[in-house]
C-alpha cells in the first residue's frame, strides 16, 4: 500500500502534456479579454471548463504557485535593491528564516549553502526601497527585531540590472 501511495504522489507532482501546453500558452500572458480562459481554451482545442479545472488542479498541486502580475520595481522608483546575506548559526537558520520571511519589506528569503573560505553566508533575503538610506534603516530594523544584530551580514546593493525575464516553457521544456 505504501508503494501505491508513493506512486500516486509522484504522478500528482508531474504536469501532463495537456497541462504543459496550457502552461506554455499562459506564459505568453493571460489574454486581456473578459473571458480569458475561453480564449486560451479555443487556442488549445479545449473547453473553457477544462482550462479552469486544469488551472485549479495545477495551483492545488503547487506546480503553478499562482497567477498574477510581476512588478518591475525600478519602473516605480524602487531603485535601491539590496540582497542581504547573513551568517546564521545552522541550528537557528530555520527559525530566523521563517521570521525574516514574514517581515513585510522582505520580498524573498532563502537558505543557501556556505562556500568556505570565500562565502560564509547561509541566509539570503531581498529588500527593495526608493533610497539606500531607507533600505539600510530597514535592514537595521530587521536585525534588531530578530535579535541578530551581532551576527555578521553584508548588504549587496545592485548597481545595474542586465536581464530580467521569467522562465518560459515550451512542451514542458525551458526555452
Amino acid at each position: 500500500m505504501v508503494v501505491n501511495v508513493a506512486i500516486a504522489e509522484d504522478n500528482d507532482a508531474v504536469a501532463s502534456d495537456d497541462e504543459l501546453a496550457l502552461i506554455e500558452a499562459l506564459c505568453v500572458g493571460l489574454p486581456l479579454d473578459p473571458r480569458p480562459y475561453k480564449v486560451l481554451a479555443s487556442r488549445l482545442g479545449m473547453t473553457e471548463l477544462e482550462v479552469i479545472s486544469s488551472l485549479e488542479s495545477l495551483i492545488g498541486r503547487g506546480i503553478i504557485r499562482r497567477l498574477g502580475v510581476v512588478v518591475q520595481h525600478r519602473r516605480l522608483g524602487y531603485t535601491a535593491n539590496a540582497m542581504v546575506v547573513w551568517d546564521i548559526p545552522d541550528e537557528m537558520v530555520d527559525e530566523i528564516g521563517k521570521r525574516m520571511g514574514e517581515v513585510d519589506f522582505v520580498t524573498l528569503c532563502y537558505q543557501r549553502p556556505r562556500r568556505a573560505p570565500d562565502w560564509p553566508y547561509n541566509l539570503f533575503c531581498m529588500v527593495h526601497g526608493s533610497k539606500r538610506e531607507t533600505v539600510l534603516k530597514q535592514v537595521q530594523n530587521l536585525a534588531d527585531e530578530l535579535g541578530i544584530d551581532d551576527i555578521s551580514n553584508e548588504i549587496l546593493f545592485s548597481s545595474r540590472q542586465f536581464k530580467q525575464r521569467g522562465a518560459r516553457y515550451k512542451n514542458g521544456r525551458k526555452q
Binding site: G29, R35, L67, V69, E102, P113, Q161, Q164, G166, K174
Partner: protein, 152 residues
C-alpha cells in the same frame, strides 16, 4: 529609464494582483468587483501597466522544480575593466534569467534556469571555461518566502 507615476487605483490593482488572479469564467469581473471598479476599466488599466513596463508579466508563477527544471543563484568576482566582456559572455546563455551587478567582491549575480537539473553544471562549466573565472554556485536549500510581493 523614466519613473512611472501611478495613481491610487493603479496601486490597488497591482497590490491585489500580486497576490493572485481568480480562476473562474469572468475573472476580471470578479477581481474588479473586489476593487470597486468595472471589468472594462480593470482590463484597460492592466493593459496600460504592461505597456509602460510597470508590470513585466501577467501570467503564471511556475514552480521550476515541479516542472522538472534546474534553478540556481550564481556569482562571479569580476575585475572592473573586464566586467563588460564577462557580462556579455554570461548573458549570451539563454539559461540566464536575471543578472545584476552588485557592489561587492562578488559583483555579478545571476540566476540560471535550465530544462533539466543536470544542465545547471553544464552551464556553470561553460561559463567558467569562457570567462576563466570560478563560479560561486549557491542553490536554494530552503525557501522561507515566495511572495515576491511589494506593496506599491
Amino acid at each position: 529609464m523614466n519613473e512611472v507615476i501611478l495613481d491610487d487605483q493603479d496601486r490597488s490593482i497591482i497590490n491585489a494582483l500580486q497576490g493572485g488572479f481568480p480562476v473562474c469564467d469572468r475573472p476580471y469581473l470578479e477581481a474588479a468587483s473586489r476593487l470597486g471598479i468595472s471589468e472594462d476599466e480593470l482590463i484597460s488599466r492592466i493593459e496600460t501597466l504592461l505597456k509602460s513596463g510597470v508590470l513585466s508579466r501577467f501570467g503564471p508563477l511556475v514552480n521550476a522544480e515541479r516542472m522538472g527544471g534546474g534553478l540556481t543563484l550564481a556569482a562571479l568576482s569580476v575585475a572592473e575593466d573586464d566586467f563588460e566582456r564577462v557580462a556579455e559572455l554570461v548573458n549570451a546563455h539563454p539559461e540566464i534569467a536575471h543578472n545584476y551587478e552588485r557592489e561587492h567582491e562578488y559583483n555579478m549575480w545571476f540566476v540560471i534556469a535550465t530544462e533539466t537539473k543536470q544542465e545547471i553544471s553544464t552551464i556553470i562549466n561553460a561559463i567558467e571555461a569562457e570567462t576563466g573565472l570560478s563560479v560561486l554556485n549557491v542553490p536554494k536549500m530552503e525557501e522561507f518566502f515566495i511572495g515576491l510581493k511589494l506593496e506599491v
